[in-house]
């Protein structure tokens, strides 16, 4: 069998697809296998269809591919939707007793396993367990010991009582036994287990966990796909640390609530997606000019307007970089993997407080909904560092008061960084405002002070550029003349695409960039390369535009904006094709 195994369950929304898929992914993870999942929400044909896909291997997997080995199809449409990915020898498990599945057509060369999922589930204690019967059947087909499933069922149903757990285990066994007793095919799959210890989580959860690790105590948000999961993760957990989550009346309120908590001294965060970023942009300028540390997560989805709410895109980059009237610095970081969602969130809090400005975390749908396995050490909490920047207390406040004893929240300093005094500090009472202000935070239209405050805010960027590592992640052959650059979630697909390219004898140097602003200076790398390709999930190539400006050189672009993330095999062939294209000239 190939090194990786690709499995999916699909049906109508409401069929319990997600939770069943998650159980299988969990079982694989607990069996010491690597897992990378993806979700198909809406249809290429019409709405309602949903699927949960699992790619697994004993080696790390970090992308999806165009291949499906075992498919649990609760509807005929699930088969139709996945025809491109099914291949000769693919196994399709379905319930021929289901009225809609009686005339099911199994494409030629594939193995159809008709399993009475519902009847077997009823025998085990209830029709609701039919998906679990199918999981049992899948275990048999893929030679995956069913005991591994037990542990995932315990995790899923344990809180609802042992009886339910036992019934589910029984349902799974009925599925397994039915296939073993009624079919005699040679399946080409063997899901071996290992002793490795993995955790399984998605990008939204990693962002939420990063926030907790970083000491975030306040979160305000308004539900929106695909960011809601961040709020749901924090709810029920942040309280353990004395924090709080507020569901606001809209994103205007959400960012202002978060801003209030930040002014009060809390590490504070909000998360949203494109339409919410539009609303938050109103208050963004106030956050930036009042020099308030705030982490704003944008889990990007396809735009503009309501766009394709459950589809992938990296189209908000310009909005994050330039959104809001006037000119004021903000930072933008873009995690490149699910585990980096954790680390970049931790870092965002430190950057926000050290440089006293809003930090956007630009994640995207592909990261947010992907469940991926990692060794727990990937989230080693000992490595979490907290730097609150320049904060003064009752003892040190004197250094930052004027001759009248007034505190200077926007003191003009060499590095641009002013002190913060949290409310309650004696002698620290001060205001700030979205109006241009003097060192005391009070309105001014004095031409010199205006220029000094603008320059001071910009000096924070220079300071950050000097003090921080704006590293990139590099893969492949660093000597290669073919340079591929991407940002955000494309890293996994590109890393795997390199294996395909390698087989074709194409060798590349791949740079994955997690910092959009400030960002690493890649002009040398770009100018030294023979060919440069920038890969991103948007139409115009917003990151490519930035790099062209930095390096003063035209680059080639591979853009995807159909709402689906890059797949490794597909990306490899696009890279190959693009490398063969004529050089672009200015």
């Amino acid at each position: 069998m190939p090194a990786d195994f690709n499995w999916a369950i699909g049906g109508e929304a409401g069929d319990g697809i997600d939770s069943t898929g998650k159980i299988f992914a969990q079982a694989l993870s607990r069996a010491g296998r690597h897992v990378f999942t993806s979700k198909d929400f809406a249809s290429r044909i019409r709405g309602g269809y949903t699927a949960y896909k699992v790619r697994t291997s004993v080696d790390p997997v970090q992308s999806v591919v165009d291949r499906l080995d075992v498919l649990i199809a609760l509807t005929q449409r699930t088969i139709d939707e996945n025809l491109d990915e099914l291949h000769e020898g693919s196994v399709i498990i379905y319930d021929g007793e289901r009225t809609t599945m009686q005339d099911v057509e199994i494409p030629e060369g594939m193995i159809g396993l008709d399993v009475p999922l519902k009847s077997l589930a009823e025998e085990a204690g209830g029709a609701i367990m039919r998906n679990v019967v199918a999981l049992g059947a899948a275990c048999e087909v893929s030679n995956f010991p069913i005991e591994n499933l037990d542990s995932a069922l315990e995790k899923r149903f344990g809180s609802k009582g042992q009886k339910l757990v036992d019934n589910n285990k029984e349902a799974a066994r009925k599925g397994r036994d039915y296939v073993a007793e009624n079919y005699d095919h040679d399946y080409d799959y063997d899901l071996e287990t290992t002793d490795n210890d993995y955790v399984l989580l998605n990008g939204d959860e990693a962002i939420g966990m990063g926030a907790l690790a970083a000491g975030c105590r306040f979160y305000a948000g308004y539900p929106i796909t695909p960011a809601t999961n961040v709020m749901e993760y924090l709810t029920g957990r942040i309280e353990r640390y004395g924090g709080h989550v507020v569901q606001a009346e809209d994103e205007l309120a959400a960012i202002n609530l978060a801003l209030g908590a930040a002014r009060a001294g809390a590490r504070s965060m909000t998360a949203t997606s494109g339409p919410g970023i539009d609303l938050m942009t109103e208050t963004f300028g106030l956050v930036a000019t009042s020099e308030t540390p705030l982490v704003i997560v944008d889990v990007m989805r396809s735009g503009p307007s309501t766009g394709m709410p459950t589809k992938q895109e990296q189209g908000d980059l310009n909005q994050l970089l330039y959104g809001g009237h006037g000119e004021v610095p903000r930072f933008v970081v873009a995690p490149t993997t699910v585990s980096e969602c954790f680390w970049k969130t931790v870092e965002a809090f430190n950057l926000a407080e050290k440089y006293q400005l809003p930090v956007y975390v630009a994640a995207d749908l592909a990261l947010a909904v992907t469940e991926q396995t990692f060794p727990p050490e990937a989230f080693d909490m000992e490595r979490v560092e907290i730097d609150r920047g320049l904060v003064v207390d009752g003892d040190s406040i004197g250094e930052w008061q004027n001759e009248k004893g007034q505190f200077k929240p926007h003191a003009l300093t060499e590095d641009g960084i002013s002190p913060r005094a949290f409310p309650g500090v004696d002698g620290g009472a001060h205001m700030s405002t979205g109006l241009e202000h003097d060192e005391l935070g009070r309105r001014t239209e004095d031409t010199d002070m205006r220029v000094e405050q603008v320059d001071k805010r910009n000096r924070k960027v220079q300071t950050a550029q000097e003090r921080e590592d704006w590293d990139y992640r590099e893969f492949g052959n660093s000597e290669s003349g073919n340079l591929v650059i991407s940002w955000g979630s494309n890293e996994g697909a590109m890393v795997e695409a390199m294996e395909y390219l390698d087989e074709e004898g194409v060798d590349v140097r791949f740079i994955s960039v997690p910092y959009i602003f400030p960002r690493p200076d890649l002009s040398e790398e770009i100018n030294d390369a023979d060919q440069v390709i920038v890969v991103e999930c948007n139409n115009t190539g917003q990151f490519a535009d930035l790099l062209e400006r930095d390096a003063l050189r035209r680059v080639k672009r591979v853009n995807k904006y159909d709402g689906v993330r890059f797949k490794a095999d597909e990306l490899a062939s696009q890279i190959e094709k693009t490398l063969r294209q004529e050089e672009v000239t200015a």
């Binding site: 607990r30 210890d197 993995y198 955790v199 399984l200 989580l201 907790l212 690790a213 000491g215 105590r217 306040f218 957990r237 309280e239 004395g242 924090g243 709080h244 507020v246 606001a248 009346e249 809209d250 205007l252 309120a253 202002n256 609530l257 978060a258 801003l259 209030g260 908590a261 930040a262 002014r263 009060a264 001294g265 809390a266 590490r267 504070s268 109103e282 208050t283 106030l286 009042s290 727990p376 989230f379 909490m381 000992e382 979490v384 907290i386 009248k404 007034q406 949290f422 409310p423 309650g424 500090v425 004696d426 620290g428 009472a429 205001m431 700030s432 405002t433 979205g434 009070r442 309105r443």
Partner: protein, 287 residues
Amino acid sequence: MSSQVRFTDFKSDKQPTWCPGCGDFGTMNGMMKALAETGNDPDNTFVVAGIGCSGKIGTYMHSYALHGVHGRALPVGAGVKMARPDLEVMVAGGDGDGYSIGAGHFVHAVRRNVDMTYVVMDNRIYGLTKGQASPTSREDFQTSTTPEGPKQPPVNPMALALAAGATFIAQSFSSDALRHQEIVQQAIEHDGFGFVNVFSPCVTFNDVDTYDYFRDSLVDLADTDHDPTDFDAAKEKILDASKEYMGVIYQDEESVSYEQQHGLTENMAEIPDGAPEDAMDLVREFY
């Protein structure tokens, strides 16, 4: 600081640029006196101001303060209070700020019942932008943008608040210094969202809702047998379009603030200098 706090400690050294005679002077004075009288000092007080002539109050008062974005002062105040229940939080803004661009937040701030005070400096006009109709302007009030009047009824902020589940509704008048201070003081002391609509006449752009008008027409509930804890009596007064009332119109004495409901007691500014001790448990949850 201690009990020595005087109300002038809440005054900044910035001279107000309000027009001479503007109602906002009296409104601010009463707020400062009420804050001092309730045992607060500038270092434990957080004032959030909206945008408008009224919003300048953040500059003229001395305390921790944020002068926000037009219409969004209430959520800022709520965020401050949730993160720091130990602080005294006061939000102030205009009638346009609170009932027009910020109307959505007003309704939800009332519902949320965070323990803070909201002072609306209601001059029934847009002062800062030089005299356009506001949501509380009269139906026939002629302005540059409404030459024949807005031709729509003014909002009744107290009715909005009552419908949204308010626990404290009051109205005061900036030039009745004593009563105004008393009323704001009661709002501060209220366990929940203390809402005070203050008539603060704009002497420059509003020649209808003037000092004389309010002096002549306001009925002080303190001079009547009104019982603010009686919801039906409050409803009647609030919906009575024939009179303008001053005083505490409604107070729910059983009010439980948002922070109490949610058990918010911690100072959220205080965090450890690394990940929480048990943070690896968060990771193991994903096993």
